[in-house]
């Protein structure tokens, strides 16, 4: 493996190659693209109710308004779509299932007209009972949200229960939990609650679609998933005769994703609507309010966790019953339930495991992927609970967690062996940096200081055949255009991929342009999700660069009669181990080839290709036990701790110091990894200290704006954040790398809850852990908050 060799570009804090464009005002996002005077605008008509039968839609008044081009309803597009389960329609058909769902759309010459006309569309509903609580939704007499569940097509690793609101039930059974609890000296159970959250990328969702007069559709979208979007559009519009061949998705820079722009949500409208108005580009752009209620939301859960431990701290049994409020459509969200359910133990070695993760339909907006993909939600319970069990045993919390921490080769909940990881190194470095065990007193008697600690893991959640690919072409000056379809959503993928290509080709990263996706021109990428592109796309890029290098060596071999094995690249030149004086500059040969004695040429334009698809994964575990498959490619692990100040009168909290260590395998760019840790940690702290979605009794979102849904500002950051990179190589990763971008969010919530308890003795069992909850508990003398 080349990770052991001396590296020139990989592992260095190379400046981001997108930075000049972003700082100088050159970067273009989808809303910045111009489409000329024929651009039309679409405005959706939304459901005012969370659950209702549509009795009648009257579009006549809207159609009369001058400037309206067309009013579209579910009758125009009676087609299903969805990523993992096709349970959505382009527009609501006979029923609406969440407040804000699109029922119709107005296409007009300008947005103001579209908005005025949308208000004139009259919809008559017959209200149905709205179910907002997943534990109510699974009761026998509950109203069915999807009576058609049995007819939906879905991936083979989902197990829906038709005739109920359970869209998928992930079961994991390992060992014998009855025996495991019998062996325990201490058994403890409790229930933890996590509400819904919003991604809040600063860029809103937006897409422009054009169906040209030849019948070809192009969609420009702020998307994490251009190829997957094309595929879903092709599936949904197949009845109209569209296939992949006449669909194209273009994605420029994306202003933040966090999972919210993965899969397909509102973009389906930008693919469908133009088929009715050929030749006119149609723009559809969400407002901040719509961004909150009609894209994916991070799903909520109620989880009851029971654990058994021996006196010496050994965990003997684990039972986690999780009811996910997955929302009205679970075409993506069911895989959050599935993937996180398989690993719901957290990074512990536990012989006897029972996990029931239920994906439950509710009449709230669709749940879907959000940075962490279910792990932050599940580990809030696990990392609160393991802390409490250690305390009940009288053991040091870190010692307890370290003792049970999973190691390479240990059996995972679904039976496969744990992959190489530096979990104990992460624990040890965090503990040392936070000075665990050193009690700190506040100079102000009204304030207390507590410390909180948590460990975490996460595996990429992907279909077993999720693939990546790369094209690489040289230019005359030996600069390179690298074509991938991983999307720059802020995580630094363009720079990291340039570094990988640079390492192989000895062309510096600043001479490598990495091109944003256009499905017509850039090669296939499954999606920019799951923290997998550093690993998967990185492998494809490395192979493309090696392919290009081989072509260069082949040309030199034929032109100069040098053995290929003796050739190597250095400083943008081909050199030869057996002929020290030999050097051919890349810029002299990568387009024009090499002239030989008779004046003819060898070689020619160099173009590399590389693909990567994991070949050892399988989703075919047993439905009743989860055993037998190999659903996860690897795990990224870490540990984190913080020091928290709590005001004993108001509950107000301040993070004084936060430390987070993550095992990156090999940090392709250590500065980018550290910046991911700082940013991800604050996003996680937002979910525990400030944010949560509030719905009224009818299922309507009450706080779809930044005044009522509080994001952390520059005033809300910890006094000090110390990111730590651990590097236990990933054997099949590019230079040993694995992904780290989602993981920094995961430990934030439990470590705050643990620190609050350490500081003032209040155990908050529901997120968020707000000053209000802590302050009220302290005033009432409560030690637990449900």
């Amino acid at each position: 493996m080349e990770a052991m060799e001396e590296l020139k570009f990989v592992g260095k804090p190379t400046p981001r190659i997108d930075q000049q464009e972003k700082v100088l005002g050159a970067a273009r996002y989808v809303d910045d693209l111009d489409f000329g005077p024929n651009l039309l605008h679409a405005q959706v008509v939304e459901s005012s109710l969370a659950h209702a039968r549509i009795k009648k839609i009257d579009t006549s008044e809207a159609e009369k308004l001058p400037g309206v081009v067309k009013v579209v309803t579910g009758k125009d597009f009676p087609y299903h779509f969805g990523l993992y389960m096709q349970d959505r329609h382009i527009f609501a058909q006979d029923k609406v299932r969440f407040a804000g769902e699109q029922v119709a759309a107005v296409i007009a010459r300008d947005l103001a007209t579209a908005k005025r006309a949308a208000k004139r569309v009259k919809i008559i509903y017959e209200p149905l009972p709205a179910i907002l609580d997943p534990r109510e939704a699974v009761k026998k007499d509950a109203t069915l949200i999807h009576p058609e569940l049995g007819a939906y097509s879905h991936v083979p690793w989902f197990f829906p229960k038709p005739g109920s609101n359970i869209a998928h039930w992930r079961k994991v059974r390992k060992g014998d939990t009855i025996q495991g609890f019998a062996e325990a000296d201490l058994i403890f159970a409790d229930t933890y609650r996590v509400p819904r959250y919003a991604h809040c990328s600063i860029e809103l969702h937006g897409a422009i679609g054009l169906c040209d007069h030849s019948g070809r559709i192009t969609v420009w979208a702020a998307s994490q998933s251009p190829h997957t979007q094309r595929h879903i559009f092709a599936q949904a519009l197949a009845p109209l005769g569209f296939t992949h061949q006449n669909l194209r998705v273009i994605t420029p820079y994306v202003g933040g994703g966090f999972g919210g722009k993965a899969g397909v949500t509102m973009e389906i409208l930008a693919a469908a609507l133009p088929t009715l108005v050929k030749g006119y580009p149609i723009k559809i752009h969400w407002t901040r309010e719509q961004e909150f209620y009609n894209t994916y939301q991070r799903p909520a859960l109620v989880g009851t966790l029971k654990m058994g431990v021996k006196k010496d701290g050994t965990i003997t049994a684990f039972d986690y019953l999780i009811h996910w409020d997955a929302g009205a459509y679970v075409e993506y969200g069911a895989n959050v339930v599935n993937a996180s359910g398989l690993s719901a133990t957290g990074p512990y070695r536990i012989p006897n495991v029972r996990i029931d993760a239920l994906c439950v339909y509710t009449n709230l907006p669709p749940g879907g992927p959000y940075r962490g993909f279910g792990y932050p939600e599940l580990l809030f319970g696990v990392e609160s609970h393991t802390t409490r069990m250690a305390q009940q045993l009288g053991m040091d919390v870190v010692a307890f967690k370290r003792k049970n921490a999973i190691r390479e080769g240990d059996k995972l909940p679904y039976g496969a062996p744990m992959t190489p990881n530096g979990l104990t190194e992460c624990i040890d470095r965090v503990v040392k940096t936070i000075e665990w065990g050193k009690k700190e007193e506040h100079s102000d008697p009204n304030k207390a200081i507590g410390k909180g600690f948590a460990i975490f893991w996460k595996a990429p959640a992907m279909p077993p055949n999720a693939a990546s690919s790369a094209f690489l072409k040289f230019n005359e000056d030996a600069s390179v255009n690298l074509l991938i379809s991983a999307v720059e959503i802020g995580q630094g993928v363009l720079t990291a991929m340039a570094q990988i290509a640079a390492e192989i080709l000895t062309v510096p990263p600043e001479k490598i342009r990495v091109e944003s996706p256009d499905t017509d021109r850039n090669p296939y990428e499954w999606q920019t999700v799951a923290s997998h592109v550093a690993w998967g796309t990185g492998n494809a890029v490395k192979r493309a660069a090696i392919d290009a290098r081989e072509q260069i060596f082949e040309a030199v071999h034929h032109a100069c009669f040098l053995e290929k094995d003796a050739l190597y690249l250095e400083d943008e030149a081909v050199k030869c181990r057996t002929q020290p004086g030999f050097a051919l500059l890349l810029k002299e040969i990568v387009i024009n080839g090499i002239m030989v004695e008779d004046g003819t040429y060898r070689g020619g334009p160099i173009m590399g290709r590389g693909t990567f698809m994991p070949r050892f994964t399988s989703a075919m575990g047993d439905p009743d036990t989860g055993q037998g498959g190999h659903p996860c490619v690897h795990y990224t692990v870490g540990a984190a701790a913080l020091t928290l100040e709590v005001d004993k009168q108001t509950g107000r909290m301040k993070v004084l110091k936060a430390v987070e260590a993550i095992d990156a395998g090999k940090a392709i760019n250590p500065q980018i990894v550290k910046d991911q840790i700082c940013g991800g940690l604050l996003q996680g702290l937002g979910t525990v200290l400030y944010e949560d979605m509030r719905f009224d009794e009818s299922g309507k979102l009450l706080n779809p704006n930044f005044t009522d849904y509080k994001l952390p500002t520059a005033m809300d950051i910890p006094d000090e954040v110390i990111p730590i990179i651990v590097e236990t190589p990933q054997a099949d990763g590019p230079f040993g790398a694995r992904g780290i971008a989602e993981h920094p969010t995961i430990p934030a919530a439990p470590m705050v809850a643990n620190a609050v308890c350490d500081a003032v003795g209040v155990r908050v069992k529901s997120m968020p852990v707000t000053a209000e909850k802590v302050g009220l508990a302290l005033a009432a003398g409560q030690t637990e908050v449900e």
Partner: protein, 152 residues
């Protein structure tokens, strides 16, 4: 109702016909071709649309375009006529931005800060960009870059 306004935009004299209800943000983006001010909320909560109006930072989504008639507006595009400003160079050197959507607003807020207070404390930097939401960076790299520029 329509009105013709004139303004100095990034140093150029510009004239444009606007509806009196149109925001400065909409006119800049849709009628004057200046795309760096971003629409993140259209209600003054996120700061992505920040521009400098007569040198002071304002949210262009909260200002009617008719209000800037005869005045001077600077957007991110207007800062680097003579190459990146020292502040912009500091952001580039630090690789401070991730997705970059908040960058135009953050850079203009910080530009205003360093103009009125060339050597701010860290808290003053935090206060100056507290109205610019960033979901990616955790603000650490932004604060570091602004402080680095202030030490130049």
């Amino acid at each position: 109702m329509k009105k013709t306004i004139t303004l100095t935009l990034n140093g150029d004299a510009r004239s444009v016909d606007v509806e009196t209800t149109e925001t400065l943000l909409a006119v800049l983006r849709n009628k004057l071709g200046v795309k760096s001010p971003k629409c993140g909320c259209d209600q003054g909560e996120c700061g992505a649309c920040t521009v400098l109006l007569n040198g002071k930072s304002v949210r262009s989504c909260l200002i009617f375009s008719v209000e800037v008639d005869g005045q001077e507006v600077v957007t991110l595009e207007g800062l680097s006529h003579n190459g990146p400003t020292p502040l912009q160079q500091a952001f580039i050197d630090r690789s401070a931005f991730q997705c970059g959507y908040c960058a135009p607003g953050v850079i203009l807020s910080a530009t205003e800060l360093l103009t009125v207070n060339p050597h701010p404390t860290q808290t003053e930097v935090q206060e100056a960009i507290a109205g610019n939401l960033c979901r990616c960076t955790g603000y650490e790299s932004l604060i570091e870059a602004i402080l680095a520029a202030s030490r130049e």
